[in-house]
């Protein structure tokens, strides 16, 4: 007589291999009282992190992955190259200052070789923002985050703070190196104080860069789970707007005759025409804000003058739009 569909005994395939390990565990005490059968399963009754602790753990995990830490060697190539490239001007400056102490520093704190910085940050954001968000979208791992004690927007929040911190590290550490190079060669306390006074606004500009670029990078990357597409999208957006803004500024500054024939911007009065194209690109917006807030070193765009508020406004629009977009994106992803 057979019993169709009878329940098999619990000692199936899975249980079979467990004998060896169960002994080590002994009888585990249950949290609420009583004893669980000695089969190796141990209850966890240690401390649990609250929501804030989990967000911090996710932040830390994401910050590490922005530099490829905890991933294979390949994942570290771009972050390392980016970081080295970003440090080069500071190192060159330090060497120059050591050879000829007292000369004017080669590199400024607030603009910091803006062409190089723009290019390097473009590459860093385009390559690493998808690392933080597109991967999880691609592998549909979000339901696993949402089924944990997190709220819907905690995930994008942790990612944003982490990526901002990553951008800050890439931008600010070279500034510190620059500062160290300068003060080591500086003679006297007043010179050191002068350097320190110049460094602080430079660090402030770095914060503006990190806060804005991280937001734009993440929202663009969150549109697609395909890393290559996300990287392309970010790079194209940053690059095209930067090129367009630069061309328009050049056309306006050097007059219509100098620019390519038929280039736009010519009908505008030279000064305003040169002041406004910077609103097109996030990088020139950042420089406009820098000059509006009092930065005097020459940058990629002319001083916006009385149009400076427009740069401040544009900065807030880009930042708010990106963060709002990021939040909306993750509300939607989580609900499905």
């Amino acid at each position: 007589m057979t019993t169709n569909g009878g329940v098999a005994s619990a000692g199936g395939v899975a249980a079979a291999g467990n004998g060896m390990t169960a002994t080590g565990n002994g009888v585990a005490a249950a949290g609420g009282g009583g004893v669980i059968h000695d089969l190796g399963y141990r209850r966890y009754d240690g401390p649990r992190l609250g929501r804030a602790g989990i967000i911090r753990a996710l932040y830390w995990h994401s910050l590490r992955s922005a530099f490829g830490i905890g991933r294979g060697a390949k994942a570290k190539i771009v972050p390392i190259l980016v970081f080295i490239a970003m440090c080069l001007p500071a190192i060159v400056n330090a060497i120059a200052m050591a050879q000829q102490p007292g000369q004017t520093p080669v590199v400024d704190y607030d603009t910091y070789t803006y062409r190089l910085r723009t290019l390097v940050m473009l590459i860093f954001v385009a390559a690493q923002a998808p690392e933080l968000v597109s991967r999880d979208l691609r592998s549909h791992v979000l339901p696993l985050y949402y089924s944990r004690p997190l709220r819907r927007l905690d995930y994008p929040l942790a990612k944003y703070i982490a990526f901002t911190a990553a951008c800050l590290l890439v931008i600010e550490i070279p500034l510190i190196i620059l500062y160290l190079g300068n003060i080591l060669s500086a003679g006297g306390g007043s010179a050191v104080w002068g350097q320190t006074k110049a460094l602080i606004p430079g660090l402030g500009v770095g914060v503006l860069w990190a806060v804005l670029l991280a937001a734009i990078g993440l929202v663009l990357a969150s549109f697609t789970g395909r890393r290559a597409y996300a990287t392309g999208l970010i790079a194209i957006y940053f690059f095209l707007t930067w090129i367009l803004a630069t061309i328009l500024v050049n056309v306006a500054t050097h007059g219509a005759g100098v620019g390519p024939p038929g280039a736009p911007g010519a009908p505008l009065s030279a000064s305003l025409g040169a002041r406004l194209p910077g609103l097109i690109s996030p990088f020139t917006v950042l420089d406009g804000v820098r000059q509006w807030l009092g930065g005097t070193n020459p940058g990629p765009i002319p001083n916006p003058g009385n149009a400076g508020w427009a740069y401040g406004l544009m900065f807030l629009i880009l930042l708010g739009g990106s963060l709002g977009g990021l939040a909306a994106r993750y509300r939607k992803v989580g609900a499905s």
Partner: protein
């Protein structure tokens, strides 16, 4: 209008079976837009143990699970998981509940250990505890050396085990498993079901496991909840399901008609099923009656087999439905 729900956070294994409901819903309704009604006034109370949540695709199983995790707000009605209201205590519920989604949710380029450790952190475990529990969880689901390999190299069965391990890593009091056997071959399903059964029986964790294959999960469940079109079809313990489902298959080489008459005369209600007859087993005396009937008629008995009819059949209309190859699907 639901009364305060009695179950607290720690229904330890000792009180399994006696304590109140781990899951309770009251007129739970979920509509997507105006057109789609995923759940329609579902009222059910689920006791600790292993519960099968059965329904066809689109019956509302996944929607119910998401509501129970506090991830989807119900359109109306109420639900409580482990005694916590889903509308207000989602975070508490998700601290105590492990969830295994139906679909693929694993990144290919991390190792099983890294992945489960990270999700242990996301469950609120401190770093060291997350590492330890990840290793244990992976061991419990039967992944040993493989756990140091990248997930992308795993077989479907191993991936399902990783998904189960990540649900287990936070030491949940309740597991919600959405179609855990999907995509597995028969032996893979078998061992996944064994694993679930073991977690439920030996780890003292209540489990709700959804499936569209009733015949499959009924084998490991203490109770069943059957939903269809978002409505409750039936909710009961397995015992009460199976009480009515014990049948005896009798096959004789000839004289089936006479035997039918004879059995009917002896007070049984034989039913034709393919080449044999099915009678319900009331008690041990049923066997004697059948034996005497066959012997009295002098018929060549070919086969006498006790069958536990699949619960599936109970939901079918009466008819020639008893005959179904065992171990189908």
């Amino acid at each position: 209008m639901t009364a305060p729900l009695p179950v607290r956070a720690q229904p330890g294994p000792a009180d399994a079976g006696t304590a109140g409901a781990v899951i309770q819903t009251d007129a739970l309704t979920k509509q997507y837009g105006h057109e789609v009604t995923a759940l329609d006034g579902l009222t059910v109370a689920i006791a600790p143990g292993i519960t099968g949540l059965v329904g066809a695709n689109g019956a509302g199983k996944s929607t119910l699970i998401k509501i129970l995790l506090g991830l989807l707000p119900p359109t109306s009605g109420r639900a409580a998981t482990l005694g916590h209201d889903v509308a207000s205590s989602g975070e508490q519920i998700r601290t105590l509940t492990g969830y295994m989604p139906e679909h693929d949710c694993l990144p290919p380029d991390v190792t099983g250990t890294e992945f489960v450790t990270h999700l242990g952190r996301m469950s609120g475990l401190p770093a060291t505890a997350a590492k330890e529990r990840a290793a244990e969880s992976l061991r419990h689901v039967g992944l040993y050396e493989e756990r140091y390999r990248q997930v992308g190299t795993y077989s479907t069965g191993m991936k399902q085990r990783v998904k189960l391990a990540q649900a287990l890593v936070g030491d949940p009091r309740l597991l919600l498993l959405d179609e855990p056997t999907i995509g597995l071959d028969p032996s893979g399903r078998r061992s996944m079901l064994d694993l679930i059964s073991r977690i439920g029986a030996e780890f003292g964790i209540s489990i709700m496991v959804s499936s569209h294959l009733l015949g499959e999960i009924e084998q490991i469940c203490d109770q069943l909840v059957v939903i269809d079109g978002g409505k409750l079809l039936r909710s009961d313990t397995m015992t009460s399901f199976t009480q009515v489902s014990q049948v005896l298959l009798i096959e004789v080489d000839e004289g089936t008609a006479e035997l039918t008459a004879e059995l009917a005369a002896r007070g049984l209600a034989p039913r034709r099923s393919g080449r044999g007859l099915l009678v319900r087993i009331e008690d041990d005396a049923t066997y004697d009656v059948v034996r005497d009937a066959v012997a009295g008629l002098g018929l060549p008995l070919n086969r006498l087999e006790q069958q536990r009819r699949r619960v599936e059949e109970l939901f079918r209309d009466q008819g020639d439905s008893g005959e179904e190859a065992p171990g189908d699907h």
